[in-house]
């Protein structure tokens, strides 16, 4: 119930301070790759479009199916792959941020049980900005 109230509050706040014709944040191309056998982590990819009318800062992501979710970014410089945590992600009004393989991604760690569907909740502080769900896609394909 609290989550629903938060979502409503978030949408209300975002809609009320901009001029969006549709939803303030639009998620698309959601892919959650299944963990390899016995591995405690999975990865998720998606695109998030900010149509709120103002800049949005994503400060955290949670999932009921995983103990921890972090925003990460892989970079490859001089042939070296490095993965670093993104503490906060700013999305300008009108901007679409792309989480994709070999770039920004969500790292899902320590599953609670054996989930088939993963829900991802994006927050700005305590404010729930966006909630999306997706089934797993086989990593090996």
């Amino acid at each position: 119930m609290m989550r629903r109230l938060l979502l409503f509050a978030a949408l209300f706040v975002i809609v009320s301070c901009g001029e969006p014709a549709g939803p303030p944040l639009v998620a698309s191309k959601i892919v959650v790759t299944a963990p390899a056998p016995d591995m405690p982590m999975a990865a998720a990819y998606l695109e998030i479009a900010n149509r709120s009318g103002e800049a949005i800062r994503v400060t955290g992501v949670t999932s009921p199916q995983y103990s921890s979710v972090e925003m990460h970014e892989t970079t490859i410089d001089d042939g070296i792959a490095r993965m670093r945590k993104i503490a906060a992600l700013d999305i300008a009004d009108g901007e679409t941020v792309i989480f994709e393989r070999g770039g920004k991604h969500l790292m899902l760690m320590r599953p609670n049980g054996t989930p088939n569907i993963v829900t991802l909740n994006f927050y700005s502080g305590e404010l729930l900005l966006l909630s999306v769900s997706a089934e797993f896609t086989a990593t090996a394909n």
Partner: protein, 204 residues
């Protein structure tokens, strides 16, 4: 045009055409590698003593007898490693569908032996297809192999009692004589692998 000029123009045009025929086939596809860096003679691998996914001790002779695509990564890597392994799986499938013989084996060498036991890396490589080879073992022995091949890796502590490993993202091609024959560097592409590997395998 004077006859002499015509002959010169004809010879020049023919030379250009012959040159093009050597570098392009009839459909315009290049017949030289488009991405891979090929080492003409191939470099010998260093001595090392590591473990395969069955826990058996292996040395550099494990690379003899087949073509290998060798990637250096770790099983707790959520993005680059599974993406690369899945890509190499697709490469093998594409090569098989076009009748390529021999097909290269996929090899993952762990840069995180602390977590990658033989059993763990075995389950991981099996997830990306049959016949793959997983290699792990003593860190010092891994460094003998990576150091000689110019492969970088470094453990990076994170803020949640976890750690990641920075590592080279290249894929090495080892020939059946166990020599380092070619190198694919990022950005990796299935199309480029599928184009280049038959050419590399066919090279004398």
């Amino acid at each position: 045009m004077r006859p002499r000029n015509f002959i010169i123009a004809f010879v020049a045009g023919a030379a250009i055409a012959v040159g093009l025929l050597f570098t392009l086939d009839l459909v315009g596809k290049k017949v030289v590698p488009v991405q891979a860096t090929v080492l003409p003679a191939g470099n010998e691998l260093p001595d090392f003593s590591l473990l395969n996914q069955d826990g058996d001790t292996i040395d550099r002779r494990i690379f003899e007898g087949q073509w290998d695509l060798v990637f250096f990564g770790f099983t707790h890597c959520p993005d680059v490693c599974p993406t690369t392994m899945a890509m190499l799986k697709q490469v093998r499938e594409r090569l098989a569908s076009q009748g390529q013989e021999p097909l290269p084996r996929i090899v993952l060498v762990s840069v995180d032996p602390e977590r990658d036991t033989p059993e763990a890396i075995g389950k991981y490589v099996d997830y990306f297809g049959e016949g793959n080879l997983g290699i792990t073992g003593d860190l010092t022995e891994i460094r003998k192999l990576t150091g000689d091949l110019g492969i970088y890796f470094a453990k990076i502590e994170t803020d949640n009692d976890n750690y990641s490993v920075d590592h080279s993202s290249v894929v090495l091609v080892i020939n059946p004589q166990g020599r380092f024959r070619a190198l694919f560097s990022a950005p990796l592409s299935v199309d480029n692998f599928v184009h280049d590997l038959p050419l590399i395998i066919a090279m004398p």
